[in-house]
Amino acid sequence: MSQQIYIRKDAQFELFEVNILHADDKQLIQISEEMGLALNLKEMRTIKNYFVQKNRNPTDVELQTLGQTWSEHCFHKTFKGTILTPEGKRIDSLFRTYIAKATLELNKPWCLSVFEDNAGIVQFQDDIAVAAKVETHNHPSAIEPFGGAATGTGGVIRDVLGVWADPIACTDVLGFGPLDYDYNKLPSGIKHPKYVFRGVVAGIGCYGNNMGIPTVNGAIYFDESFTGNVVVYCGCIGTLPIDKYIKKAKPGHHLVLAGGRTGRDGIHGVTFASLELTEKSEEVSRPAVQIANPIEEEKLKRAIIKIRDQKLASSITDLGGGGLSSAVGEAAHKYRCGAKVALEKVPLKYPNIPPWEIYISESQERMLITVPKMNLQDTLEIFASEDVEATDIGTLTTEQALRLTYDGTVVADVDMDFLFNPPKITKKVEWKKVEYTEPTFSEPEDLTSILVDLLSSPNIASKESVIRTYDHEVKGNTVLKPLCGIHGGPSDAAVIKPLDNSYRGLVISCGINPQYGKIDAYWMAASNIDEAIRNNIAVGGQRIALLDNFVWGSPEKPDRLGSLMKACEACYNYAKGFETPFISGKDSLYNESPLGPVTPTLLITAIGIIPDVRKTVSMDLKASGDLVYLVGQTYPELGGSEYYRRLGYIGCSVPVVRLNEAKRTMDRISKAIEAGCVKACHDLSEGGLAVSAAEMAFSGDLGMDVSLTRFPQSVPITRNDFVLFSESNSRFLVEVPEKAKEDFEAAMKGSNYACIGRVTKEKCLLIRGLNGEPVIQADLDMLRDAWKKLFGG
C-alpha cells in the first residue's frame, strides 16, 4: 500500500506535513502539480534531498515557500541559467552575459543602482535621483482584464515606492489581438480581444488616475498572437532625494507589514505566471488575480514618503509576486540575515486562512519595511496618521534561517542558503530560419489611398480615445503631453518637470515593434532600442538610460529560447554602442496559449534628461515657409512594415540598425535641438516617411510640399512606395526656420540629411515622387479624419 502523501498535523489551524521522504519521482511531480508549485523533477528531487538530510518531511508552508522563491517569476531561472547553443557554445546567464554586461562596461557614474533593487535608479540632478521600473502583467490580464491591468499598475508603483521614490508618472504599453477577431475562431477559455481591450484600458486608468499619478506615455499594438496572450506592460517613474535611499537593514530590526489586509486573492500568481495558459486557466487560476484598491495605495504612499523623509526605516521592499514569502526572503537574503515571522500577526481580510496561504498571498497594496526598535513607535504612528494598518510581524535574525511560526508552532524552518540556491537549469537553444520571403509586386498607382489606409490602420491610428481616459496632467508637471499641437498629434515622448525649483526635465519614451520579431528577433531588439532612443532624442532628450521587458514564449522550447538569446545579444550590442545602459528590466516568459506562442516582443523604455524643458520640441508643424529636412538614410527595408502588412505580406527585409550612422544622426539631432534651430521633429517609424509627414502636417494644421528627388540614400531606391513607406531606423523629419538654415546644417555636418521641401500654409500634404511628379496629394482634414476615425476621440 502506498504511503499517504499529505498528513494533517495536529494543530488548531490547517497545517500539513508532505510526505516527500517516501515519494518516488512520479509522486514528486504529482506533489508539484497538486500543490501548484510549478517545480520540475530536478527541483523536486533537490528539495527531497534537503529534507532527507534534515531527516524530516517538509510542511506545506515550506514547500509553498520554495515553490514561490524558485519560480521563474521570482528567480528568473531562464535568464540566470545556462544555455547551450547548437555550435557547442555555453552561455552562463543571459542576464550577466548580455544585459548587465553593457551596463557594467559602460560604467556610467550617473547610474546609482542598477538591477539590484526593485527599480533602477539614476541621477537626475545634484541630490535628486530618478527611479524607473516597467513590469508585465500578462497572465492575470488574460484571465481578468480589469483586475489584471489595475494590479499591474499598482504593482509597478509599489516597485518604485520600494526604492523610497515618490511616483511621478506611469506608462502603459499594451498588446491585443485584432479587435475584429472572428468569434467563431476563438477557442474556449480565450476571451475576445475587444473584451480584453476594454477591461485592460479601464483597469490601468482606474489605478493611475485614482492614485493621482499621470499616465504620460504608452503605445497600443495589435497582433494576431496577442489574441491568446494579451500583453500588458505597466511602467512607473519616481523621484527621490539621494541621501534618503536607505538600505541598511540589520539583524534585530523589526519587519513591519503595512497597507492592505491579506486575503485569498492572488494565490499562486507567480507560479501561474510561469506556466502556459490553457483552457482551464480561468477555472484553476482565477484566485491568482488580485483585487485592486488604489486609494489604499495612495495612503500607503503618503505614509512611506513621510517615513522616508524622517529616515525611520532601514530598508523597504514591496509585496508583489510571491507576497510575503518573496518580500521577507529578499529582505533577509539581501542583508545576509535570517528572519522570523509570526504569521498569526498578519492582519487578514477574513479569518481561517491557513499559514501557507497567508505567506504566499499576493493581496495588493502592501509594503514591508525594516525598522530599528528605537524607531518602531514613530513609524507605526505615521502609518496610523494616514489611516494605514501596519503590524510588527517579526524580526531579522543573525541565524541564517527562515523561521515561520503560527501561534507559537513552527510551521517552516528552512536554511537561507538552501532557499536562495535553486538548482541551476541548463537549456538548449535552436536557431529558427526566417519563414518569410520578400514579396514581388509592382508599385500601386494610388499611393495617397494607401497612406490613408495606413493612417487608419490599428497600429498607426490615433489612440486618443484611450489616452484621454488617463489623467496625464495630474501633478501639473506634464510639459509635453501624449497628444501635442492644436490637433493633438502623437508625441514621440513625454516630458515631465519634476521639481518646482528647476526647469530640468525628464523625457520618457518607448520602442516596440513585434512585427519585426516575426522575422528576426535580433533586429527587432536593435530596432526597438533605436526607436526608443530616437523618440527620446526627437523631443530633446539626452543622457538616456534604458529598461528592457521581454515577453516571450515558453523557454522550454529551444526555438523560443534561441530567439530570446538573439534579442539579448542585440541588447548588449546596441546598449553598449549607443552608450545607453540598461538600468532595470523584467522578463515574462511562458506566454503560450491554445492559439500558439506570443510573437517575440521586447519593450524598450528610454528615460532621458532635458536640461531645460522650455527647449522641448514637439512634432507638430509650426510655421509656413519653414524648411523640411529628412535626416538619416532610407534603405529598401520593408520587411515587417505596416505597408507590407496592408498589402498582405510580411517579407524579410527587416530594418537593421547601422550603429555608426545611427549614432552620428542622433548626436547631430541632439546638437541641433540644443542649439535651438529645430521647430518640430518627428521620428520615422511605422508607416515610414509618408505617415510621419502626414502626422506632422495634420497635427499642426499646416501643409507640406516635399520632394523625393533628393533624399539621403546609399543604395539606390527606384520605387516611390519603397521610399515613402520604408521603415529604416534612425531617421527624423525636421522643421527648421529659414533663418536657422545655416546653423542647422552646421550642426548636422557629418550626418546624412537633405532639405526636401517646405511647410506651406495650404492645408494639403504634397509629396512629389522620384521623377518630381506628385505621388501623394491629400487634404489635411481628410488625413486627420482617417487617423482619428478607427478609435475615435
Binding site: E298, S385, I467, T469, E473, V474, G476, C484, V617
Partner: protein, 272 residues
C-alpha cells in the same frame, strides 16, 4: 494685509491627490499654504485661523459612492459649526474638481438659501460616459459677485484642462429652469463651457466635455465667496502647462488658471 500673512488650508483625506500643485499655486502668489489632513484639522480645531479653505482635486475616499459625498459628509460631521462660521465670516472656499463635488454634496453650493442640508444640484456621470482628460474653453459669465474671478473680465474665454468621470452639472429636472434663473439672477453663474470663440458649447462634445446642463462648469454661492469648478486652474498656471505651448518661441510665464488664485488672494489681502 500682507500676502505672506494670508493662510490657505488645503484639505486632504485618503484619495486626495491634487494638493501639492494647488499648494504651489498659492505659494507662487506669496501666500502661506498648508496641506492638512481632515483628521488633523478636526483634532487641532483651528479651521478658523485660516483665511482660505480649499478642497482640491482627487478621488476622496475612493469616490466609491457618489464622488465627493463621503468627504462632504465627514467634513460636515466633524466640523459643522466651524465650517458654518467660516462661510458666515465670508472667508473664501474653493473646490476644484473633486472639491467642487464635495461643495455640492455638502450643500455649500449653490446654497440658494444658505447652507443646505441636502445637495441642491449634482455632478453626475459624464455624457459621453467615462473619464476624460482634455483641455476645454470656458467663458467667464460672472458680473462681479464671485471673489475668485474678480480679475477676469466678463465674457473672457479661458483655457483649462478637465480630468474627471463625474462632472455633468445638473439641477433637479423638474425645477431646472427656475434654478437656472435663480443662479443667473443671483450672479452665481461663473463659468460655462464654450468653443474657442466663446460661443456656447450647445451641449456638444467635446466643447461641453461632460454633458453639463447649460454648459455649467463653475458656480459660486449667492455671496460669491464659495466657488467650485470642474476644470483645474492649478494645471493651467504656467505657460509650459498648455498643450500647445511649443507653437511659440517659448512658453509664456503664466496663463489663465493663475487669475483665479490671483483674484481670491487680492480679495483677501484687501479685506484684511
Amino acid at each position: 494685509m500682507d500676502r505672506n500673512n494670508i493662510k490657505a488650508c488645503i484639505v486632504r483625506v485618503g484619495g486626495t491627490n491634487c494638493d501639492a500643485e494647488t499648494k504651489r499655486s498659492f505659494e507662487e502668489l506669496g501666500v502661506k499654504a498648508e496641506v492638512r489632513h481632515l483628521s488633523e484639522i478636526a483634532k487641532s480645531n483651528n479651521l478658523l485661523e485660516f483665511d482660505i479653505l480649499v478642497f482640491p482635486g482627487g478621488f476622496s475616499f475612493g469616490d466609491y459612492v457618489r464622488a465627493g459625498a463621503i468627504l462632504a459628509k465627514s467634513f460636515s460631521a466633524k466640523l459643522n459649526r466651524r465650517l458654518k462660521a467660516f462661510v458666515e465670516e465670508g472667508k473664501p472656499i474653493l473646490g476644484i474638481c473633486n472639491g467642487f463635488q464635495v461643495l455640492v454634496e455638502a450643500g455649500l453650493l449653490p446654497a440658494f438659501n444658505g447652507i443646505s442640508k441636502y445637495p441642491e444640484a449634482a455632478l453626475a456621470t459624464n455624457l459621453p460616459i467615462g473619464f476624460r482628460c482634455r483641455w476645454v474653453y470656458l467663458k467667464h459669465e460672472n458680473s462681479g459677485k464671485c471673489v475668485f474671478t474678480k480679475k477676469i473680465p466678463k465674457g473672457k474665454v479661458l483655457r483649462m484642462p478637465i480630468a474627471h468621470a463625474e462632472g455633468r452639472f445638473m439641477f433637479p429636472k423638474d425645477s431646472e429652469g427656475s434654478c437656472l434663473e435663480r443662479l443667473v439672477d443671483n450672479d452665481q453663474l461663473v463659468f460655462r463651457y464654450c468653443d474657442e470663440q466663446g460661443r456656447g458649447a450647445g451641449g456638444k462634445y467635446p466643447y461641453n466635455p461632460n454633458g453639463s446642463f447649460y454648459g455649467i462648469a463653475g458656480i459660486c454661492n449667492p455671496e460669491g465667496t464659495v466657488f467650485g469648478l470642474m476644470p483645474h486652474p492649478e494645471r493651467a498656471f504656467y505657460g509650459w502647462q498648455l498643450p500647445d505651448w511649443t507653437k511659440g518661441e517659448k512658453p509664456s510665464e503664466f496663463v489663465d488658471g493663475r487669475l483665479i488664485f490671483e483674484s481670491v488672494v487680492e480679495h483677501v489681502a484687501a479685506k484684511l
